[in-house]
């Protein structure tokens, strides 16, 4: 569908946005490769939508430049940029039919024979029989597809999606995530997707940029971000992390730390900061990497694994897994997710247990940050 071989990457250089004394986006350099599915992830107010709007031309950057390929578009108004947006809550024109909504961009560019293209586009989003309806007569999911069709029909170099699935219910959202991913693969256009939903970002995007307080905290492939978070914000915002404050006993290729008398190990390669003997380190592990056994079976645990003892404070049955909250002197609330393969009847609240995991699955973070960063904000914007 795309015939733009000379499209090129989206390049933001030193771009920032101030509103009076408030800085929505700090100076930011970002290159979004052509044809990729790129997600800007963060809680509300982190600057992700502002960044998107500066690419669209709806917001003038206070400093910096925007390039599409070799062309600078910083001073181009939105109607002169080869970029289209799928707006939050869709912004479909209420006074126009679905057909005319989709034809809007073509007509503005002076294209006379729009019928064929619009019909094809309606077929692509499976809304052929709704062409003459008005937007308010469609369901949320249908409106969402019209919004995508209305933008895609213009063959933009970049498609910007501003929380496009935010208004849909969970089931429909999952369905549309796959649908959007399919469309992106089919048309090969660069998609830049803004969302506060970490699962959505990881499901759909090739590359995710996690934003916080007007800055990009970390950027990378979803698995890379999840396995190797470099800040507590990323560790907590993407999924859940158990973060333990520890002091470094010995630094080397294998770092040995201790927390409240418990000794833990982790590879130096997985530390985002260089550990120094006698210094502090935040040690992290994901809840699903941890195994749980009753205290009586401690001896059966293979040597070389990290071990923590504690007591089950609470458990909740989720279906595929059971989630435990463990009270331990090392850390007051450790989370553990256990797959429901064979459920152990002894793992009930109050039971003494041992947690153990492969030291390779442990990551280390700089201790000079807020250990709870990224936790509250997730709930707020959910």
């Amino acid at each position: 569908m795309t015939d733009k071989t000379a499209g090129g990457d989206v390049r933001l250089s030193g771009i920032s946005k101030h509103y009076g004394t408030f800085t929505a986006v700090h100076p930011l350099d970002l290159t979004i490769p052509q044809g990729s599915f790129f997600a800007l992830l963060g809680a509300s107010g982190c600057g992700k939508t502002t960044t998107l709007r500066m690419i669209a031309g709806l917001e003038e950057p206070s400093t910096g430049t925007v390039h599409l390929g070799d062309r600078e578009v910083t001073d181009l108004p939105p109607y002169k940029r080869p970029v289209n947006t799928v707006f939050q809550s869709y912004a479909l024109f209420p006074h126009l039919s679905i057909f005319e909504n989709i034809a809007f961009g073509l007509r503005r560019r002076g294209i006379k024979s729009v019928k064929k293209q619009v019909d094809d586009m309606l077929d692509l989003v499976q809304l052929g029989q709704f062409a003459q309806r008005k937007p308010h007569q469609l369901s949320g999911g249908q409106q969402q597809r019209v919004a995508v069709a209305r933008a895609l029909i213009n063959h933009p170099q970049v498609l910007l999606l501003d929380e496009p699935l935010g208004a849909l219910d969970l089931k429909l959202r999952r369905q549309m995530q796959l649908e959007l991913k399919r469309i992106q693969t089919e048309v090969g256009i660069t998609f830049v997707h803004v969302t506060h939903d970490q699962e959505e970002a990881m499901t759909m995007a090739d590359t995710v940029a996690v934003m916080n307080g007007g800055r990009v905290e970390q950027l990378g492939a979803p698995a890379e971000l999840y396995e190797n978070p470099r800040t507590t914000f990323v560790a907590n915002f993407l999924g859940t992390s158990n973060l333990i404050e520890a002091s470094v006993e010995s630094a080397g290729p294998d770092v040995v730390v201790s927390a409240s008398g418990t000794t833990l190990r982790l590879p130096a390669a997985r530390c985002s900061t260089t550990p120094r003997t006698g210094g502090k380190l935040l040690v992290g592990v994901r809840p699903e990497k941890v195994s749980l056994v009753p205290a009586a079976e401690e001896n059966a645990i293979a040597t070389g694994r990290n071990k923590i003892t504690g007591r089950i404070a609470a458990s909740s049955f989720i279906g595929v897994s059971t989630q435990f909250v463990i009270d331990s002197p090392v850390c007051p609330e450790l989370e553990v997710y256990v797959q429901n393969i064979e459920r152990d009847g002894r793992l009930v609240p109050g039971a003494e247990v041992v947690l153990h995991w492969n030291p390779e699955h442990t990551f280390g973070l700089d201790a000079d940050q807020d250990i709870d960063a990224g936790i509250e904000t997730v709930e707020e914007s959910a």
Partner: protein, 268 residues
Amino acid sequence: MRTPLTWLRRNLVVIAGLTTLAYMILPNVVVTVFSFNNPSGRFNYAWQEFSLDAWKDPCGVADMCGSLGLSLQIALWSTLAATALGTAIAFALVRYRFRARGAVNSLIFLPMAMPEIVMAASLLALFLNMGIQLGFWTILIAHIMFCLSFVVAAVKARVLSMDPRLEEAARDLYAGPVQTFLRVTLPIAAPGIAAGALLSFALSFDDFIITNFNSGNTVTFPMFVWGSAQRGTPVQINVIGTAMFVIAVLVVLAGQTVGNRRKKAQPK
């Protein structure tokens, strides 16, 4: 148990409401009935006998239809002008941040918060002091002035409820500023603008107090009715009043029927 008393208590609101409605409609009924009267004297206040004379010759009274035409003309022009000026102000107030917003808001609000006679008298003071000849133009100036605020209020309410993202979407879809305004902003604001225009027309057409002060020897339809209340009320006044009422009700009902049909034709 359904005693008459409980029935009365349950339907108290309905009874009271319909009584008020009757009170509001009664004069129109009287106007209609007396348009078929053949009064004995100069005044059409007491029933004499049934007659179709006035309906057969609605313009049979000297100067009445002329004044009606003048009123329509003034209402039309003042509606056009007030709607254009008021819509511009409403857009500026809703869509832009600027100094003196508060002052502008007060200036818009004041004409609505002032007894009409105060504005009427002060306009007359202006015209007298400046030696301006009272007539068609002074009436038009006055009508545009007091209609303006009502248009601003109506349009502002509509534009406020409009999603600014719609205009962004238009700009994003290759519509320049002019195209965006014509294709998106204006159609969506249209109901508010229409409401403001309709209100302007009704206010201007029916205005008496301000017109009475600033018309000189020019006679609009309300001025004609006022004069005839002193000299003698021709039955034709009732004919015009009845016709206006019937036309208004029919237009509104027809509009609603069309709207309902359209809704039914496109089921969800």
